[in-house]
Amino acid sequence: MDALSSNMTLRNDQSGLHPCWSCKGPVAEADLFCETCHAVQPPGHIDHFARFGLHNSYDVDVDGLERKYFELQRHLHPDRFAKKTPKEKSLSQQQAVTLNEAFEALKDPLLRADYLLKVLGADGISHDHTVNDPALLMEAMETREALMEAESVEVVNDLTMKARRDVRDCVKQIAKAFADQNLEAARKLALRLKYLTKLLEETRQHKARLVMK
């Protein structure tokens, strides 16, 4: 028995299969449901990209990602398991939690850059509060000043448009840096994206204040 089970473990590692908790048949790490008995499985230890069937690439079609997210939630959300056993309910919740986490991390260009940096073994940017890039600092100061002085919706709109364009350009540059496997550049650009995202938020708040006065 002991010899058998240790043998099995070894072979499991090679094949990537493990027994289904419900029917004991073989399931793969990324399987959501057992192919034999259709029982929901615990979330596999795979990265966020793999969860959506994507490669580790910064280029993500966000609309396609969302369609896939909805499709997966349709099958995995706890609402689909209201009449099932407590074990299946709990697994469905784990799956839905994991899926929400993966979707949140990938749909946003900034969080995606942070996550991909970490997946590729580089430092993320989430805990980086200081910016050492003098050009970026200068740009930030000037734009903020312009925003503070903006008294009309038109001026804010112009600033918003510019910030949106900058975000779009920055995202493209990040994608290129990742494609070139230049993680240092990607990281620097991600920090710039962080600032631009914040700026966009501020322009929106400023506009809301002006519109709703």
């Binding site: 058998l4 099995m8 072979r11 499991n12 090679q14 094949s15 990537g16 299969l17 027994p19 289904c20 419900s22 029917c23 004991k24 048949g25 073989p26 793969a28 192919e35 034999t36 008995c37 259709h38 029982a39 909805f70 939630q73 349709r74 959300h77 706890p78 609402d79 689909r80 209201a82 009449k83 099932k84 056993t85 407590p86 299946e88 919740q93 839905a96 939690v97 929400n100 986490e101 979707f103 949140e104 929106r204 708040q205 809301a208 519109v211 709703m212």
Partner: protein
């Protein structure tokens, strides 16, 4: 009629309950501050369950008879004028609240509260009752109405709560359902239910706003509809702003006028209860008319009051503007401008007030939708969701956390672990550390709300993680995990990462009921508590046994060739025995036969794993092979 059903159920020789999940319908309940509604949906056709006069609304008013029995609804509402000391209304405002919360709710409240710790208690007909018990009485009445009309036992329900209800209030609502003998399939946010009812899923795509001004709470939610998926983008509200406040404002105005005539008067809680009925009448009158005359009578003195709609609107303006301000914040949170909203759904009787319609229309630049009765729309949505959960549906509802959740850190500052408007279910972890050398315990204080400081937020729970091994300050790594389930209920876990010392608590709100209190109440409220518990355990055993059987059948269907005839017939014998056990009433027999089946299929399971691994390593497509075997 109910007796008949019960008798049938207990007929000798028959199983005491129909097998779980067979054809029992689950109901949808809108447990409102002022009125409640129960509805059921069959074949995606929802129906509000009405009384013999065609009324769907059950006033959320409970009167207690001297023997402690509860009278709910219209009759209780009538008793309010005759025996106010035995009657309670608007109890939803107190769900999950403590004494200090209740005292801070503005205006004159018609509650006589008992001083003390924990969940607030009300004095009624010489007894002390919690809001949970009173709500349970309302739910019981709704359950009975459903059973009367549907002619079978109802055990499952979807219950709606204001989106802005905090964890304490949600837990209190679930507790009330348990007391009433209802299993809550899901707590659904009222605005989401309203959107479901509008069938916005079918035709509509885009962002919709739901403006829900209930009796005691206000919510605005932005929902995005796309191909049958309802996604809540952002939500916000005020758990202490509602149509009741309009009644209060009118009443305060009348009382001010009285003071000019009679000077200062002392009003009892019962006087206020009666006077509020007049305030409500005035509000409703001014929806249709430009002016109305009303009479108040206390202490044997009568006063006459005239109020115009213009005056009422002057009184209501600050309240309506509070709601409009919340709308703006939610729009901002949802990254949406008012003109991007494709439609505005109105929910709650108080949205009939012309001033409300006018201001909402102005903010969004369009006429709000009000095709479905705003008093019934939430229950209709709840019934649709109950059907979706039990029978199935093409639609899916993806909701968010209404409020941020965090823990207290040094200096009384709140560190947010889960931000508001995060899609649920969700689990997030954050690491904290000790701040003293050799610190062996850490207090975890869980808070809900958007503000910076602890005392500005709502305290949900406190617990202590003990057994941290002595380390220098800052060396321990305490990982705190917050999990919010699909009902919006929170569980918090804490673990010291280096040693694995851990602790998990289902958050029992500071103003919730303790497990013992709950157990006592269950004992008191259910004569057949033990029987009900047995039935539940039996049902659970059957559901689990059926799952195991189906798993084995699937495996036999696909991999049956791995067994010789003897082995296969042996397994069949065990399967038949389990099937017999399921048909019986002995859950221990069912459970032990499940164990036997598990044991007897172990060899089979090993062969299946071996086969799967072999195929994986030799590169045969498992699926193709299955298809080949299956055909």
């Amino acid at each position: 009629m109910i007796e008949n059903v019960l008798l049938q159920i207990h007929e000798p020789g028959e199983t005491p309950v129909p097998h779980a999940g067979d054809d029992a319908l689950a109901i949808g309940i809108d447990l409102g501050t002022t009125n409640s509604v129960v509805a059921v949906s069959k074949g995606e056709t929802p129906e509000v369950l009405r009384d013999e006069n065609g009324k769907g609304l059950v006033p959320s008013v409970v009167a207690y008879a001297p023997d402690g029995s509860a009278i709910v609804g219209n009759l209780a509402k009538q008793l309010l004028l005759m025996r106010p000391e035995t009657v309670v209304s608007s109890v939803k405002r107190l769900m999950g609240r403590g004494l200090s919360d209740v005292k801070s709710i503005s205006g004159t409240l018609p509650f006589e509260v008992v001083e003390g710790e924990g969940m607030v208690r009300l004095k009624l007909a010489g007894r002390e009752l919690t809001p949970v018990e009173i709500s349970a009485d309302i739910l019981r009445a709704l359950k009975e109405r459903a059973e009367d009309q549907l002619k079978y036992k109802v055990e499952q329900a979807v219950i709606t709560v204001p989106a802005y209800f905090d964890d304490a209030a949600r837990t209190a609502t679930k507790d009330a359902a348990r007391l009433a003998g209802l299993e809550v399939l899901r707590l659904v946010n009222e605005p989401t239910a309203a959107a479901l009812a509008y069938g916005l899923d079918q035709q509509a795509e885009g962002v919709y706003a739901v403006y829900d001004l209930g009796g005691g709470t206000f919510d605005l939610s932005l929902l995005r509809m796309e191909k049958g998926v309802f996604q809540v983008k952002s939500t916000g509200g005020d758990a202490a702003l509602g149509g009741d406040d309009f009644d209060h404002a009118i009443l305060e105005y009348f009382l001010e006028q009285r003071r000019e005539t009679f000077g200062e008067e002392k009003l009892t809680t019962d006087d206020v209860k009666i006077a509020l009925v007049t305030g409500r009448m005035a509000k409703e009158c001014l929806t249709e008319n430009d002016q109305g005359d009303f009479v108040l009578e206390f202490n044997g003195k009568t006063s006459k009051h005239t109020i115009t709609r213009a005056k009422f609107e002057e009184l209501a303006t600050p309240l309506v503007e509070r709601s409009i301000e919340i709308c703006r914040n939610v729009l901002e949170d949802g990254d949406t401008f008012p003109d991007e909203v494709k439609g505005v759904v109105l929910v709650g009787g108080s949205t009939r007030v012309p001033l409300v319609r006018k201001r909402v229309g102005e903010l969004f630049g369009q006429e709000p939708l009000a095709d479905i009765n705003p008093d019934e729309v939430v229950a209709v949505g709840a019934a649709l969701q109950a059907e979706a959960l039990t029978v199935g549906s093409d639609n899916l509802l993806l909701d968010v956390t209404p409020l941020s959740l965090g823990i207290e850190t040094m200096g009384g500052i709140v560190e947010k672990v889960i931000q508001r408007n995060t899609p649920i279910p969700v689990a997030k972890a954050q690491e904290f550390t000790t701040y003293q050398d050799g610190q062996s315990a850490m207090a975890i204080h869980v808070l809900q709300g958007e503000r910076e400081m602890v005392d500005q937020n709502r305290s949900l729970a406190r617990f202590i993680l003990k057994g941290i091994p002595p380390m220098t300050a800052g060396a321990a790594r305490i990982k705190v995990t917050f999990s919010v389930d699909a009902d919006g209920l929170l569980t918090v876990g804490a673990e010291e990462v280096t040693t694995g010392v851990s602790q998990e608590v289902a958050v029992k709100p500071s103003y919730g009921l303790s497990d013992e209190e709950m157990a006592d109440m269950l004992r008191d409220s259910m004569v057949h508590a033990r029987e009900d518990m047995e039935i539940r355990l039996l049902t659970e055993a059957r559901v689990e046994a059926k799952r195991v059987m189906e798993a084995v059948y699937s495996a036999l269907h696909i991999d049956g060739k791995l067994l010789n005839e003897d082995e296969r017939s042996h397994i069949n014998v065990v399967l038949n025995k389990l099937d017999e056990a399921i048909a019986g009433d002995d859950r221990h027999a069912i459970n032990s036969m499940v164990e036997v089946l598990d044991r007897e299929t172990q060899t089979f399971a090993q062969r299946r794993m071996d086969k799967g691994i072999e195929e994986a390593l030799t590169g045969i497509d498992v699926k193709k092979l299955e298809n080949a075997i299956g055909s």
